[in-house]
């Protein structure tokens, strides 16, 4: 009895405290809103937004609703996060391996990179790339082509646009290739189990992925045109490149800064993962006659990935959250489009900020739940 009271009272008090704090805030908010004639509700989401967004992945203009504007922002956030994740992984893996290189110069260059980029605030790096580095680029009319057909200018990076004909057939052919790969994998496994023969599954898969769409090209079912950026004069002194795709400098700066910054953390994860595997594993694998490639594929990677993946996912999450700094350099992400312009036009601060926060919260919680599940699944079993 005594014990139960001892455990109930502190819980009750904490609960009361939390309820009181939340209650205090909600009551105040209600009173304030009532007094100031503000109503609360999410009906505004269906209203016409009547503002344009610089850059959108889906069809959008001001005649669409605020809900659609939200979607535009969310997709832009996802776009920048995905690009950032891809690049930070590439850089991070290279730098992480370089930090373990036997070459003194490479090791130290990598270490220097990590120490520098990790210790400078991300916001400063974003500003640097956007306001200092990309702003120093030439105007479109003065730009020398990069790789022959692309143009890096102060107004953006202009790249050729691909124009597909019968794009759906291409998709079907890729789908067909994937299905046949699944069949071949199964067949290869059976073949191995029964006869011991091993098919070069990876090679066959890549081959199929090239051949199937390739056939559609050769037979002329699918055609691809490239429309190159062409200099277009808007007025006496102002030019742009039309016809191609324009990647806005805001996106470039953001992706650059996010991936260079996050890569330092990924590199440390990779380094820890590789260092976490004892030399004995490699020797044992070698002693039974596995080739270096097989050792890497069958023994080192499966173990290293278990160490690397969880903290790296955390870094990916951080990158996604950090992409909200886009608002500082006019990249139309969720925070800028929705918690910025839309909030401004509707004035519904509480509703919009709560939706924004909830979006990020859902994103990161669902990924971390997925990660926990994955970690449990791959955890090396011990006593």
């Amino acid at each position: 009895m005594n014990l139960r009271i001892k455990s109930i009272i502190p819980q009750l008090l904490t609960l009361l405290f939390v309820v009181a704090v939340i209650g205090f805030f909600t009551i105040n908010a209600q009173l304030n809103m009532e007094e100031r004639g503000i109503d609360f509700g999410y009906g505004f989401l269906n209203q016409e937004s009547s503002f344009d967004v610089q850059f959108s992945l889906i069809e959008y203009d001001g005649s669409h609703s605020y809900a659609k504007a939200y979607l535009v922002g969310l997709l832009n956030t996802i776009l920048v996060s995905v690009l950032g994740i891809i690049f930070c992984t590439i850089i991070g893996v290279i730098v992480g391996i370089a930090r373990l290189s036997p070459n003194y110069l490479i090791r130290n260059t990598a270490a220097w990179y990590v120490e520098f980029f990790r210790n400078v605030p991300l916001l400063l790096q974003i500003f640097f790339w956007y306001y200092a580095a990309l702003r120093a680029l030439p105007l479109p009319e003065n730009t020398e082509p990069l790789f022959g057909v692309t143009y890096l200018t102060v107004k953006g990076y202009y790249i050729p646009r691909l124009i597909w004909e019968n794009f759906d057939i291409l998709i079907y052919s890729i789908l067909a290739a994937i299905i046949s790969i699944i069949f071949i994998r199964n067949y290869a496994r059976k073949l191995q189990e029964e006869k011991g023969q091993q098919l070069p599954v990876l090679l066959i898969s890549v081959g199929l992925l090239l051949i199937f769409p390739g056939i559609t090209f050769i037979t002329g079912m699918v055609q691809l045109d490239v429309s190159l950026p062409v200099l277009k004069q808007l007025s006496k002194t102002s030019f742009i490149y039309a016809e191609g795709i324009s990647v806005p400098p805001e996106l470039i700066a953001l992706v650059l800064a996010l991936s260079l910054y996050t890569a330092t953390f990924v590199a440390e994860c990779v380094r820890a993962g590789i260092q976490g595997i004892s030399k004995g594993q490699k020797e044992a694998a070698a002693s039974v006659g596995l080739t270096p490639n097989q050792i890497l594929k069958l023994v080192i990677m499966p173990q290293a990935l278990r160490i690397i993946i969880p903290p790296t996912t955390n870094q990916y999450l951080n990158l996604t959250k950090n992409s909200s700094l886009a608002a500082a350099i006019a990249y139309p992400d969720l925070v800028l489009v929705f918690a910025g312009t839309a909030l401004m036009q509707t004035g519904r601060a509480i509703e919009i900020v709560s939706i924004t926060m909830l979006t990020y919260l859902t994103l990161s919680l669902s990924i971390s739940i997925l990660m926990n599940w994955y970690n449990k699944k791959i955890a090396i079993k011990e006593k």
Binding site: R36, L234, S238
Partner: protein, 345 residues
């Protein structure tokens, strides 16, 4: 344990007290006024730096017509035009700051629109500057009219303003595809335009004029003649405090009416002996105009003496600084403009 319990009870009762105090506090006198007088300063939201409207110099002294309105309210309510605390706000923050109670007056070249007035807990109290949206381009571009814009043009502007909406209407009506590049701070917009990120910079014409003289070589840029919208700019207050709303409204009206009757900061005192009862009312020599707001009778006199009339304010901040020497529509109705305010009586 007992002690924590006591503390909690104390906390809860204090919260309950606060809440009950809140509900019973519908006093006759303006709550905002009371709070302002208690704090000893007017909390006024202004821009982060727009010459002629609200701009701080290096030592933190604010000037501009928007700032003068804040000062007028302070002079009326606290007796001293210096008792203002300025909150520099971005366009994005301004309404939230006002509705949340961070500031009590928003005097930040804000356009009066129906949806803003009706929908989001704001009340516009008047117009202190009639404006319209325009475009600025580099002179070297050879563009002299908005009709010369071509598809693909990129336009820099402020985030979350009516400008953004007007721009869309304008380009849509012309059937031109354009690239909007929006920044939160006006300075960033100008810097982006200056660096060649955008072909044109669009905002209220007064703002263009003000920003143009801030540029390194103002003569390299021109403001195109066309005006694409109506932009009545004026001070805003929160909904729900009618008396405070009146105080701000009439602080503005008094400044305009003072100009109409020729009362200036220099001659305000001597005007007490004027023959015109309207003038006498304005300088507090006749009638009881302040009583309605819970102010003394000298409130309007203080505004005129400490801040000056609208004409003085305009001349000091906008004309003399070379932003817009011509008053255009912002001239009294008696002189061909559209400034017309209800009589103070």
């Amino acid at each position: 344990m007992l002690r924590t319990l006591k503390a909690l009870v104390y906390l809860l009762t204090s919260i309950a007290l606060l809440v009950s105090f809140e509900t019973s506090a519908f006093a006759k006198k303006s709550k905002t006024l009371k709070k302002t007088q208690k704090m000893g300063f007017v909390r006024c939201g202004v821009s982060q730096g727009l010459p002629g409207f609200s701009n701080a110099d290096a030592s933190g002294n604010w000037t501009g017509v928007d700032v003068d309105l804040c000062r007028a309210v302070a002079a009326a309510t606290l007796g001293d035009s210096g008792k203002v605390k300025f909150f520099p706000l971005s366009a994005k923050e301004r309404f939230t700051a006002l509705t949340s109670g961070e500031i009590d007056v928003l005097s930040r070249n804000t356009t009066w629109t129906l949806s803003r007035d009706a929908d989001i807990g704001l009340t516009f109290v008047g117009v202190n500057f009639y404006d319209g949206q325009g475009f600025m381009v580099r002179k070297s571009s050879g563009i002299t009219s908005v009709n010369q814009f071509k598809a693909g043009v990129s336009a820099c502007t402020n985030l979350g303003t009516t400008t953004e909406l007007n721009m869309r209407d304008f380009f849509n009506s012309k059937g031109i595809k354009y690239e909007p590049v929006t920044f939160e701070k006006a300075d960033e917009v100008v810097a982006a335009y200056d660096a060649g990120r955008c072909d044109t910079y669009t905002t209220d014409k007064s703002g263009l004029a003000a920003q143009r003289i801030k540029l390194s070589k103002p003569d390299d840029h021109i403001v195109l003649p066309e005006t694409i919208s109506k932009e009545p700019l004026g001070p805003v207050v929160r909904q729900g405090d009618a008396v405070w709303e009146d105080i701000v409204r009439w602080s503005l009206n008094v400044m305009i009416e003072a100009e109409e009757y020729g009362i200036t900061s220099a001659n305000a005192d001597s005007m007490k002996s004027s023959d015109n009862p309207a003038v006498k009312r304005l300088v507090g020599a006749e009638g009881e105009l302040g009583a309605a707001f819970g102010l003394d009778n000298d409130w309007s006199l203080r505004i005129i003496k400490q801040v000056g009339n609208y004409g003085e304010s305009y001349k000091r901040n906008i004309a003399d600084t070379g932003i817009l020497p011509d008053r255009g529509p912002n001239q009294l109705w008696t002189k061909g403009g559209i400034l017309y305010v209800p009589p103070a009586r």
